[in-house]
Structure formats: C-alpha cells, structure tokens
C-alpha cells in the first residue's frame, strides 16, 4: 500500500517532496495557538527532531477550530498542516478516524523515510481529542 503512495517520491529522479507538500510547508494552514482550546495534544520529542502540538476547539462534537505548532522538517510541517485541513469542521468521530495514510495521500505522497511525519500528525490529533474527552468526562463528573 505504502508502495503506491511512495511511487512519485521513491529514489528516482523526482524531487524530494511533492508540490502539495511544498505548498503546505511554505504556506501552512491553521498555524498557531487556540487560547481557549478544549483539547490539546502534543506528540514526538525534540531528541528525534519532530514535535507536533495540536489545539482543538470542539463544540457540539464538531471540530470548530484547529491550530498547530510544529518543530520539525518540511514534511512534518506539511503533515500537520494537511491534517488540520482534513479535520476542520468535521465531527469528532470522523477526526478520530483520520489515518496517517490519508494525510500522506492528501499530500500526494511522502518519501518512505518521512512517513513517520504523517504518523505523528495522526497521533497528535488523536491525542488532542483524547485530551478533550478526558476533560469533558471530568467536567461531567463534577
């Protein structure tokens, strides 16, 4: 499966990154912080060179707003950006289903050794949603 996604960026004569990746890297969507976010997720570590932080504003089980901050390479920034686009305005249940494959495909593929960036994007969103659910539960208990 990944073979197919990878096709255009395999070690052939293609550029390292697809145009989509470069577009999202150069003009990342939804960059920044949501001050009153009700779900925040941070994954990765600086030691490995990638950290992604997702801020969610969830209302009525819908992702009303999403923003990100990323420390990482071009594909990490592009993956974060694309992931936010894919979940913005979507029901939380849909956002929970977001896969790294979907992120990579939406970017017209990532080089093999950069696939972990799309995995981080998926994990960052899941972690932010779980954070939201946890605090929602707590509020409910109180």
């Amino acid at each position: 499966m990944t073979g197919q996604i990878m096709k255009r960026n395999k070690e052939d004569n293609m550029a390292l990154y697809s145009e989509k990746v470069m577009d999202h890297f150069r003009n990342p969507r939804n960059v920044g912080v949501i001050e009153d976010a009700n779900g925040i997720g941070e994954v990765g570590n600086a030691k490995c060179g990638d950290i992604m932080k997702m801020y969610l504003k969830i209302e009525d089980d819908v992702i009303k707003d999403v923003k990100f901050e990323t420390f990482g390479c071009g594909s990490a920034i592009a993956s974060s950006s694309m992931a936010t686009e894919l979940i913005k305005g979507k029901p939380v249940s849909d956002a929970m289903q977001l896969t790294n494959k979907a992120v990579a495909e939406a970017l017209d593929g990532l080089p093999d050794y950069k696939m972990h960036c799309s995995v981080l994007a998926e994990e960052a969103i899941r972690s932010a949603i779980e954070d939201y659910k946890k605090s929602a539960e707590k509020t409910a208990q109180q």
Binding site: V31, A46, G49, D50, F68, F71, G72, C73, G74, A76
Partner: protein
C-alpha cells in the same frame, strides 16, 4: 542563486573545464596504448602526477595514485595500513570520532575483521589533542588516521604535531585532507604525513576524481583489481581528462590560496559575528582553527531541514546536520561528537562559502537566516516551552 555549499562540492573552474574539454577532444587515447597517440595521453597523465606531487610537497610523483575520489583514497589508505598491520601482528587503529564516513565505515569493517579501533575525543571545540594521540598509541598500533579539516564544522586539526608524534612512535599516519587541500597550505614532508586523501571536486575540479598520496615504501593494497595501471596499485583505464583537470584546478587553487583565504575569512567572520546575534544560537567548532569558508551554527528551537528548504526558497543553498537531511534518525555524528545534544543538533546550519561571494550576498544570507529562524521559532512548540520557562535553554 547564492551557492553556500562548497563543502559539499564546488563549481569547476573555467581553466579546469578547458583542460578537460581539450583532453577529451584532442587526447582521447588510452595511456596504456603503445602508439604515439596513446603515449600522448600517458604524457598528460604523468604531467598531472608531477604537478600534483609538487603542489603537495613531494618530489616523487610515484607517490601519487589517482583514484575515483576521496572515498576511494580513504578506503585504500586504511585498508593498506590494516593489511600491513595484520602482517606484523598490529591490530589497533586510532582515529577521531568525527571522521568522514569513508573513514569511519572502513574502520567499522576492520573492527568486524578483528581490529581494535580507538576513536579519539574531538572535544567541544572540534579539535583532536596531539597529547591524546600520543597516549593512545600502543605497541600494536598499525595506523593513526585523523582528518586535516572536518567537513561539517571546518575545524583544522594539528596535523603536523600529530604527524611528528607518529614519526617518533614509528606508526603510519594518514590524513583525509579532502576539505583542506587547495584551501590550506599542505606539505606532506613538512607536515609529517605518510598518506593523504584528496578529491578534485572540493577544489573546483571535476567530480569522481581524486588521489592518494602514499609515501615511498608503503605497500598499498588494491581496492580495484584488474589491469596494471597506476603501477599495479589501482586498476582501470585512467580518467585522463578528469585527472588533468584536477591538476589544473589544484595548481590554480594553490596559486591563489592565501588571497582566497583572506577573502573567505573576512566573509566567514562577518557571518559568524552576525549570526551570533541570533538569541540562543551557537557556533559549532573552534572559531580560529577553522577552514576559511566554513560557518556552522546551531539554532535552538528549530529543525534544520525546514530551515534549508526556506533558505532555498530565498535562493540560498546550504546544508544541515539534522537527522531529516541525513535520512536517518540521528543528527550528524560530528555535532554529537562535539557534545551537542540531539535537541539542538537537529537545528544546525552549515554555510560553506566560495571565493566569488559578494559583500551584498553575505548581508543577504545574514538577513535571510535571521528571518527564517525567527519565522520557524514563531510556531515551534519547543521554542514556546523554552520561552515560557517550561524547559531550560541549552544554548
């Protein structure tokens, strides 16, 4: 475009291109052929050998073996010393922690074959200490191999002192001078060098050509087996156009070495002082014992690949030691060797400038780097935590 990656490779000089074209057009014979057309090519080859020998300070051209580049020369030097060592029961090799992979990977192979490898510390300033070489030498040491100048951080090693120690202890000394030759004065006799590796494309010559200097009396082991070229020490029809162009390029580089170094140092030091103004940044490697054209910084809170891509968008070509640019999970072994932790090693930038860079271009590089670093920090969660005092600054 501002090409600031001359440590990766250089633009060929016009003179070298002309030499190459003229040899390809007019002297395409095989130097091994007996007829005069072949012998003319042989003449060109031997002229180049004489030239190279003279330029590195030896009167004996037989001590020069042409290779396919720096990697092959490194491999041959080390494998030869290892073969000699093995014959004499000497199975210990000393090197440094931040050698080029052409050296380190060859040593790893030898380790698997039973050699013991000591990798010397290069300290925070990126410099090997001669006294530590002395302490590391044992009765069974077959070779000391320490690079002349590091390819990432540009630090220039005390080669002459290390060479003197090796002479005194009767141990073979090899230096990978790929980054240094044509940029720093080198004299194999005065610098006490037994073997030296060089690569033409780092001094405005062609890619895929280099040479190994091996002092008379050192028996070499072939890396490439086959015909009797290079006195049986390196098989394969010689790359005559490339070799001739390499000699032209080296002659040129050595002729204007001091002049070039002056220009480069001025630009280098301007870059270093200006980039030092970026908060939480640090120069990698000693500021003085350094290649004239090398600048290497770490910027805390950002990652090197995104920095490079954005500089590329601004027309600046540079390089980084971040994991993402190496295709592995770890950042550059060179930065780790000088004690940079992973977190900041990922945020490194190497600018290796060329002699033709202008003052305006240097200022443009400075403003671009400042702008891009600030931009990337603007949405870096690492930078946010540092600024908020949640994590302590390293730099």
């Amino acid at each position: 475009m501002i090409y600031a990656d001359n440590a990766a490779t250089t633009k060929m000089s016009e003179a070298a291109i002309n030499t190459m074209i003229s040899v390809m057009n007019d002297n395409y014979g095989n130097p091994s052929s007996l007829y005069s057309f072949g012998q003319k090519a042989k003449e060109i080859l031997e002229e180049a050998r004489n030239e190279v020998a003279t330029l590195i300070g030896t009167a004996n051209p037989r001590e020069i073996i042409f290779t396919s580049g720096g990697s092959e020369a490194d491999n041959q030097a080390i494998m030869s010393a290892a073969a000699l060592g093995r014959k004499n029961g000497k199975m210990h090799i000393i090197s440094s922690a931040f050698e080029h992979h052409a050296v380190l990977h060859t040593l790893e192979r030898l380790k698997k074959e039973g050699f013991e490898i000591t990798l010397l510390d290069v300290h925070e300033d990126g410099l090997v200490r001669p006294e530590e070489v002395k302490e590391a030498i044992r009765d069974d040491t077959a070779l000391v191999t320490v690079m002349f100048a590091n390819n990432e951080i540009g630090t220039v090693q005390p080669i002459r002192e290390i060479g003197a120690i090796c002479r005194e202890k009767n141990v073979l000394f090899h230096t990978d001078a790929v980054q240094a030759i044509g940029h720093l004065p080198i004299n194999v006799s005065e610098d006490n060098i037994d073997m030296l590796s060089a690569s033409a494309h780092k001094f405005h010559g062609p890619k895929g050509v280099g040479f190994l200097y091996a002092r008379k009396g050192i028996k070499l082991t072939n890396i490439i087996e086959g015909g009797a070229q290079e006195k049986g020490r390196r098989a394969g029809t010689e790359n005559v156009p490339g070799i001739a162009a390499m000699a032209t390029a080296l002659k040129e580089a050595c002729a204007s070495l001091n002049e070039n170094a002056e220009i480069l140092k001025k630009h280098r030091d301007r870059l270093i002082s200006a980039l030092n103004e970026i908060p939480h940044s640090a120069l990698n490697g000693d500021a003085d014992n350094r290649l004239p054209g090398n600048v290497n910084f770490c910027f805390e809170g950002i990652e090197g690949e995104s920095l490079l891509l954005l500089l590329d968008d601004k027309g600046i070509q540079a390089s980084s030691g971040s994991a993402c640019t190496s295709g592995s999970l770890d950042p550059s072994h060179v930065l780790l060797a000088i004690g940079r932790v992973h977190d900041v090693a990922h945020g490194s930038l190497r600018l290796s400038i060329g002699e033709d860079v202008s003052d305006e271009e240097i200022e443009y590089i400075i403003s671009s780097v400042k702008e891009v670093v600030e931009y990337l920090r603007g949405f870096s969660p690492v930078w946010r935590d540092l600024m908020a005092g949640k994590t302590p600054f390293i730099l």
